[in-house]
């Protein structure tokens, strides 16, 4: 009799725990939907053609986000163009040359920390090395700040992807008399291509939403200006400024911008994941 009671109590406790586990999963999904729903509800009203054709307005007049969108695109492109090759080469060193070496494991360790380091500190760093010496805010320092965030992301995925390439492929290349550099360039990179592209896409997704490192490097700019030596607007910084302003039409634009950036980033990361997982499945 007593045994049955204990058994039933255990069963009941198990049921209760199951409910909690499922509840946690539901909660996670509900939160995501909650955020997306709020974004769509508040953002769609602000979306119109003028968002893409006009510059950010002074308070009280109509306008769009053109200069901010273009600024974001330019800085992201320049940042990835600078950061991705460095990350790619460093990741290559870790996976191809430095296996098991002390330097490689140190770099890997430091890189993992930089991967999660506060991005605002990167902003301060670039302010110290670029903005302060130059004497003014500029788009290029914003791009450099983004590049420093790109490097650890690309390094990590590059190393992981190159380690997945079977050693036999490299040995085959070496047996044909190819030098190490040739084996890496002609064999390893090609075998890992999809994975490497995934890493870059994830890096783009990561930096295109970054705000903190741009606040005091690229600053902001009310006007359309592709000059990297001038302060440059970006979508996240404009959202920050407009959302915290007391003006209703600025807040509306901020929501529209938030909607744009979220869906761009989510689409990119889903695309990257699909690309990555298709490769992994092969």
């Amino acid at each position: 009799m007593r045994g049955m009671k204990i058994y039933e109590a255990r069963r009941a406790r198990d049921k209760f725990a199951m409910v909690l586990y499922c509840g946690a999963a539901v909660l996670g999904i509900v939160w995501l939907l909650f955020i997306l729903f709020a974004l769509v509800r508040s953002g769609v009203g602000g979306l119109s053609l003028t968002v893409f054709t006009q510059n950010t307005p002074p308070p009280g007049s109509a306008g769009g986000l053109l200069n901010a969108i273009v600024g974001s695109l330019i800085m992201t492109a320049v940042g990835v163009a600078i950061g991705a090759p460095i990350g790619l080469l460093a990741g290559t060193y870790l996976a191809e040359y430095g296996r098991g070496s002390v330097l490689a494991s140190t770099v890997r360790f430091i890189n993992d920390i930089l991967l999660s380091a506060p991005s605002i500190v990167i902003g301060l760093f670039v302010y110290e090395i670029m903005v302060a010496p130059m004497g003014h805010f500029s788009g290029i320092s914003g791009a450099i700040a983004l590049a420093i965030i790109v490097i650890p992301v690309v390094l990590r995925t590059t190393e992981d992807m190159l380690l997945l390439v079977p050693g036999a492929l490299r040995e085959a290349g070496t047996a044909l008399g190819m030098t190490r550099a040739l084996v890496i360039n002609k064999v390893a990179y090609r075998a890992a291509k999809a994975g490497l592209v995934t890493g870059m896409l994830l890096a783009v997704a990561r930096v295109s939403g970054e705000t903190a490192p741009l606040l005091f490097t690229a600053l902001n700019n009310q006007f359309f200006d592709a000059n990297l030596n001038e302060p440059m607007p970006s979508l996240p910084v404009v959202i920050y400024q407009f959302a915290l302003s007391p003006y209703k039409d600025w807040q509306k634009l901020a929501w529209a911008g938030a909607l744009l950036i979220t869906f761009a980033v989510l689409a990119l990361s889903i695309f990257a994941r699909v690309l990555g997982s298709r490769k992994a499945a092969q």
């Binding site: 995501l32 605002i120 301060l124 030098t179 705000t211 959202i239 938030a258």
Partner: protein, 358 residues
């Protein structure tokens, strides 16, 4: 083989080489003959080509090596430049900066304590909320979830990690804070108000913004890290251990509590530390909802500030060099704290990886 050498002689670039080699394959009736003709002039060119290959190999090695060392240089550069930038503040305030409570730009007195306090409190609140939920999701994904649901749920949770932090900020300020203010905070006040000890934590008028709201938002942001790392760690638990537990009649929750969690403990703690590192340094989401006032209050409903929010808010407005230097020193403190936390997290995760490989 001779064809290969012939092609090698023709061009320095292997790629165009291979192409050429293919197109000439039909044209060359007797490659050996040609090689014979070329042999005299070729031997020195061949050596030249091989030298070029070797040189390029060295250069490529050097470039990748430089890039790898570059990562270390970035870290060194961050530390050096932050120390240099905060020198005026360090000279003026010394270690007192860490313990001083005043933050007054007008009189030029700066102390880091309120910002450090806010950073720690919001992060701790975030971890307290996120850990049970994150672990729950991880258990759900590894032990309970039907195969068909695994990917969608996993992706949904990871998308939470992909949403830029500024979005959490704007959502937190306009949607979540009013919600908390209206429904959750009054309830918490009535629930904990009469409880001695806890009543101080939940005292004061519900502003909507403050430590608690920031903690909640941070919890949502770090949830995916805890969930996905715990899931990965749970998957390293040898199935045979779980099967043995089921075999002696354990229920699923007992297997989770007595086999999976103890086995994965170090990794889970590593994941939590990683999430803590993220929460400590998170800027934009917190800046929107923390309230930005340099005060220390026992109540979680009170507005406060964090290190990163102070920097984001005040840096471009800092008028004196001492003000700027104090903010940079705050950044340095933040970097040191997160560095220690993240390093500890990595060391723990490395331990579980090694365990999984054995």
């Amino acid at each position: 083989m001779w064809e290969g050498h012939y092609a090698l002689l023709q061009d320095h670039d292997v790629q165009s080489n291979v192409r050429e080699h293919k197109s000439e394959q039909t044209a060359l009736a007797d490659p050996a003959l040609k090689i014979g003709q070329m042999a005299y002039a070729g031997s020195s060119r061949r050596a030249q080509v091989l030298r070029a290959f070797k040189l390029r190999d060295h250069i490529f090695h050097g470039v990748t090596f430089t890039a790898a060392v570059g990562v270390l240089i970035i870290l060194g550069g961050v530390i050096v430049s932050l120390v240099q930038g905060s020198m005026p503040a360090i000279r003026t305030f010394g270690f007192g900066f860490l313990a001083a409570k005043t933050w007054n730009p007008v009189t030029g007195h700066f102390g880091a304590l309120p910002a450090i306090y806010g950073t720690l409190v919001t992060s701790i609140v975030a971890i307290i909320i996120a850990v049970p939920i994150g672990l729950g999701i991880a258990v759900f994904l590894t032990e309970l979830c039907p195969q068909a649901l695994k990917r969608p749920v996993g992706i949904a949770v990871e998308l939470l990690a992909g949403i830029p932090s500024i979005i959490y900020g704007i959502w937190g300020l306009f949607v979540f804070a009013p919600f908390l203010q209206q429904y959750v905070q009054p309830y918490l006040i009535s629930l904990f108000g009469p409880v001695p000890g806890l009543s101080a934590l939940f005292a004061g008028p519900p502003y909507g913004i403050g430590f608690l709201t920031s903690g909640f938002i941070l919890a949502i942001m770090v949830l995916p890290y805890i969930a996905s790392i715990s899931r990965d760690v749970f998957e390293t638990v040898p199935p045979v251990l779980k099967e043995a537990a089921y075999g002696v009649g354990c229920t699923t929750s007992e297997v989770v509590g007595k086999v999976v969690l103890p086995y994965a403990r170090v990794g889970v703690i590593g994941g939590i530390m990683l999430a803590l590192g993220r929460a400590l340094g998170e800027t934009m989401a917190v800046t929107f909802v923390i309230g930005n006032s340099h005060n220390i209050s026992a109540s979680l409903f009170a507005p406060g500030t964090t290190i990163s929010a102070s920097i984001a808010n005040e840096f471009t407005e800092a008028t004196s060099s001492l003000y700027t230097a104090s903010l940079i020193e705050l950044g340095l403190i933040l970097f040191v704290i997160t560095f220690i936390v993240l390093a500890a997290a990595r060391l723990m995760l490395m331990r579980i990886e090694r365990k999984a490989q054995v």
